[in-house]
């Protein structure tokens, strides 16, 4: 097993993850979907999820949205958690509280949204390693989160394969057509709508795009066997999510926070422990004889 991440590496990751969390919450505020912005919604959709059922039996979602001040206080607390996690990096309390509040937001939002989406699942999982003060435990949990990220994409591809939609002629095109109907009827004539109508006239290309999406997801299976291609998997994931946003208006970028668990170890080490300027200058002016001394000093430092 890979050695534990250093303190510097974990701190760098923590900054990345909770910085990302702040961005995601600000995006949700801009999109009018924080709890105090939902205007006290009415219809609930717990489906068959026992956690949703439990929270509805306790009336937690209803309590959170029914009073604007309660909802606002909740949203401010939720936004404060990643800020505090960044401000007090040694503390494990704020990541834990963030996870708890995010879970409440997750269930409350999705029950009133009417669809149990998964874009915030990445944040739910990537915060878990930071619950632990032990570097070894945090590292091993992060490895587990990395496997979960791979699993999510491979599972999505596998469902397409086993349900027969991966190579099904017309599947992707008809999905696009259904996905975009509400926009067409509302008079939208933007690039997405033009692109979709163009694909309607070119069904072979739509099929090729659908297969490409399937292959992009299935490519993540490689990560179960080697870590060497993790950087490429990140690029493929970004390409996949860009494509689904472009064609289907699916906003899934929040899920990509899981890519922090895929960052190549050497790159992470470089970013987390930059060489001190004085030593860099020494290497440049003194040449080869100092390189061994500098390398040894750096390894002691990290």
């Amino acid at each position: 097993m890979k050695k534990a991440h250093s303190t510097a590496e974990l701190l760098w990751l923590k900054r990345g993850v909770f910085g990302f969390a702040i961005l995601a919450l600000l995006y949700r505020a801009w999109a009018g979907t924080l709890l105090h912005q939902l205007a006290n919604p009415v219809l609930i959709f717990p489906h068959a999820d026992n956690v949703y059922w439990l929270l509805h039996i306790l009336q937690v979602p209803e309590l959170l949205v029914s009073n604007r001040f309660v909802a606002l206080a909740f949203d401010l607390a939720l936004l404060a958690m990643p800020v505090l996690a960044l401000s007090f990096p040694k503390s494990t309390l704020w990541p834990r509280l963030f996870s708890a509040l995010l879970l409440l937001y997750f269930v409350t939002f999705h029950t009133f949204f009417g669809h149990h989406g998964h874009s915030l699942v990445g944040l739910l999982f990537i915060a878990v390693p930071f619950w632990f003060s032990s570097k070894k435990t945090a590292t091993q949990v992060l490895h587990g989160v990395r496997h979960y990220a791979l699993f999510a994409y491979v599972a999505a591809a596998s469902y397409k394969l086993f349900r027969g939609s991966a190579f099904m002629d017309g599947h992707f095109l008809h999905t696009l057509q259904q996905q975009n109907v509400s926009l067409l009827w509302n008079g939208a004539q933007g690039p997405r709508e033009h692109l979709m109508m163009w694909l309607t006239a070119a069904p072979e290309l739509a099929l090729a795009l659908g297969i490409t999406a399937f292959l992009l997801q299935m490519a993540f299976a490689v990560g179960f066997f080697t870590r060497k291609l993790d950087a490429i998997l990140i690029l493929l994931g970004v390409l996949f999510h860009f494509g689904t946003w472009l064609l289907m208006d699916i906003n899934f970028w929040e899920f990509t926070v899981l890519y922090f668990a895929l960052l190549p170890g050497k790159k992470l080490q470089q970013w987390a422990t930059p060489k001190p300027k004085a030593m860099v200058n020494q290497e440049v002016t003194a040449g080869t004889p100092n390189e061994a001394n500098s390398a040894s000093a750096l390894s002691k430092h990290s």
Binding site: M1, G32, L38, P46, T137, W185
Partner: protein, 181 residues
């Protein structure tokens, strides 16, 4: 993954059992086909989608003119359309919430009647929720557009894709009002 689990077993056994339990739970819910937090199912548009006889969607009009929802942030647009789609499904079943048979099966014969009715109320939607839903829809749109709204009419619209002068076009076939607010 097996290597990760093997080394976890050797060096961090309590964590190994937590991870194993999670894997077993995930597998169980995948086989069962039901999602329960934190065991998520990533089905992701994998249900085969044949060509539809009719493609249906939601249209919102204010004082007779269609609102251009595409100009809104994606999530906000979805927060307008998705609850209406769910409302439509409920309406098609005379507002008999599809979750009710499950609630009945789990609780009706196992808890006192008053508790059962409270649970049913907390877990499902009822016809009496309709006026409040219409009022919510107006409030949310007013908050979205930052101004009072005129008469809002929400329609289910349906149509087909075809071609006209060698270009793909969408032909509206029907437009049915769902509610007015």
């Amino acid at each position: 993954m097996p290597r990760y689990l093997t080394q976890l077993y050797k060096r961090r056994r309590p964590l190994f059992f937590v991870v194993l339990a999670f894997c077993v739970g995930q597998g169980f819910f995948m086989v069962k086909g039901v999602e329960t937090v934190p065991f998520f199912l990533f089905g992701m548009y994998s249900e085969p989608m044949p060509e539809q006889v009719m493609y249906s969607g939601i249209m919102v009009e204010e004082d007779g003119e269609a609102l251009d929802l595409s100009s809104l942030p994606g999530l906000r647009k979805d927060m307008i359309i998705t609850p209406v789609e769910r409302y439509l499904l409920l309406s098609q079943q005379q507002f008999e919430d599809p979750i009710l048979p499950v609630v009945r099966k789990r609780f009706e014969d196992h808890v006192p009647a008053s508790t059962y009715f409270t649970l049913r109320e907390h877990l499902s939607n009822a016809p009496a929720d309709r006026p409040a839903f219409y009022a919510w829809f107006r409030s949310y749109l007013e908050a979205t557009y930052g101004r009072p709204m005129g008469t809002l009419r929400v329609y289910q619209v349906g149509g087909t894709y075809g071609s006209k002068a060698d270009e793909a076009v969408f032909f509206m076939k029907y437009k049915q009002i769902l509610f007015e607010s």
